[in-house]
């Protein structure tokens, strides 16, 4: 009975430790907030460091927008009233374009931005 209690307690501690580790790991990732509005992303250039995972948080006050960074094979719908999150861990330095891939109006074709990754 004591052994069983100890095993359960140990398992519980392990889960708790794992959860804490998970949330600490998430909390350590830098969060970059980006606003999508007709017809631009603010900021237009997202500065990242090679190998540093970040979380991009997108919001829009307009119509449905999209975020698509094909070089990193990530995309997200940015719906009004919601926060869209994309985790990105750039593995190479350089400048990479991203764009809105949900048609949002007359300036949609030029709605794009840049991810600048430094080594």
């Amino acid at each position: 009975m004591v052994a069983q209690r100890r095993r359960l307690l140990a398992a519980g501690l392990a889960v708790a430790a794992g959860a804490a580790l998970g949330s600490r790991a998430f909390a350590q990732e830098r969060v970059i907030r980006v606003t999508a509005r007709k017809f631009e992303f603010v900021p237009e250039t997202i500065e990242l460091k090679q190998g540093e995972p970040v979380v991009l948080e997108f919001t829009t006050a307009d119509v449905l927008m999209g975020f698509n960074a094909p070089d990193f094979k990530v995309r997200a719908d940015i719906a009004p009233g919601q926060v869209a999150r994309v985790r990105l861990a750039p593995d190479r330095a350089g400048e990479f374009e991203f764009f809105c891939d949900n048609f949002c109006g007359e300036g949609h074709e030029t709605m794009s931005g840049k991810i600048r990754v430094t080594a």
Partner: protein, 297 residues
């Protein structure tokens, strides 16, 4: 057939058309069980009625009428005319959208040929899921048969995320299921079904599913618009041909960092704009494409 040869020779001799592109699998005679006849149709695309931008097209309010007049002046009457989307330029104002659609409909009403097929582009349909466009032109996806060829119009624009969608893909599957595997099939759509240049939004997010459905059919050709220039590409045995615009040209896919429209050249007005005639070959899954300018040089 005699008329087809006469028509082709006449167009060449008269110098009416530009480059001629022959698409298809020569020698694929005897497709399907339907009666085969040669015929001729005209594709116009990306007219963007309502666009204003003198640096790109100082005759934005007159180019469409000139194209209609040029089609009417063709020496041979086409069997039908198809507009492959972006009939109007987008606007956030629903009333203005309907006004532009109405004006477009009235202008193209001057076409002598009354067998006209329409398709939406994202500028017409993406901001209201095609609602206004359908009020004027009916269903946004459909099929029809003409002289032994099965035509399928696919809507990849009413969904702002550039998806055909599960419901339409199910319809497409059921529609194609009625065709023989060697039937002659022509697809009209607005965006490319394949990933031509995803960075420029020149793709259909679930287009690969449509291509997968078409792939078992041996004689399939796709005519589309959206990219404002002539472009020819194969996905397997399926040929895809994009049409020029009637408002402003765009740069070649991936040729420059940004998809910036090509400015109007006063020395060569209407350069890069035009429409095309498509000639079918009797007994062949072959299409001869002749490009026409908006105005004669």
């Amino acid at each position: 057939m005699t008329q087809a040869i006469d028509r082709r020779d006449f167009l060449k001799l008269a110098g009416l058309g530009g480059a001629v592109f022959v698409s298809g699998l020569a020698g694929c005679a005897g497709m399907g069980g339907a009666k085969q006849e040669d015929f001729y149709f005209v594709q116009l695309s990306d007219t963007h009625w309502g666009f204003k931008g003198p640096a790109l097209n100082p005759d934005a309010e007159g180019t469409l009428q000139k194209a209609v007049a040029a089609v009417n002046a063709l020496p041979f009457e086409p069997d039908f005319v198809v507009f492959t989307g972006d009939l109007t330029h987008t606007t956030d104002d629903p009333k203005e959208r309907r006004r532009r659609l109405a004006e477009f409909r009235d202008i193209v009403g001057a076409l002598k040929n009354k067998n006209v097929r329409f398709m939406p582009g994202e500028h017409d349909a993406s901001l209201d899921n095609g609602q206004a466009w359908k009020e004027f032109f009916g269903p946004s996806y459909y099929s029809f048969d003409h002289k032994g060829v099965h035509f399928v119009a696919i809507d990849n624009v009413s969904d702002a995320s550039a998806r055909i969608g599960e419901a339409q893909l199910a319809w497409l599957k059921a529609d194609l299921a009625k065709q023989d595997k060697d039937a002659r099939i022509v697809v009209f759509t607005h965006r490319p079904l394949f990933d031509l240049e995803p960075q420029w939004d020149w793709a259909t997010r679930d287009g690969a599913q449509a291509i997968d459905l078409l792939m078992p059919y041996r004689n399939v050709t796709v005519f589309y618009g959206h990219i404002h220039q002539e472009h020819h590409q194969m996905t397997g045995h399926i040929a895809h041909h994009s049409a020029k615009s009637l408002i402003f040209p765009l740069p070649a896919p991936g040729s420059q960092p940004k998809r910036v429209p090509i400015a109007w050249d006063p020395a060569q007005p209407y350069k890069g704009l035009g429409f095309r005639g498509i000639e079918t070959e009797l007994g062949k899954a072959e299409y001869e494409i002749t490009e026409f300018p908006v105005v004669k040089a």
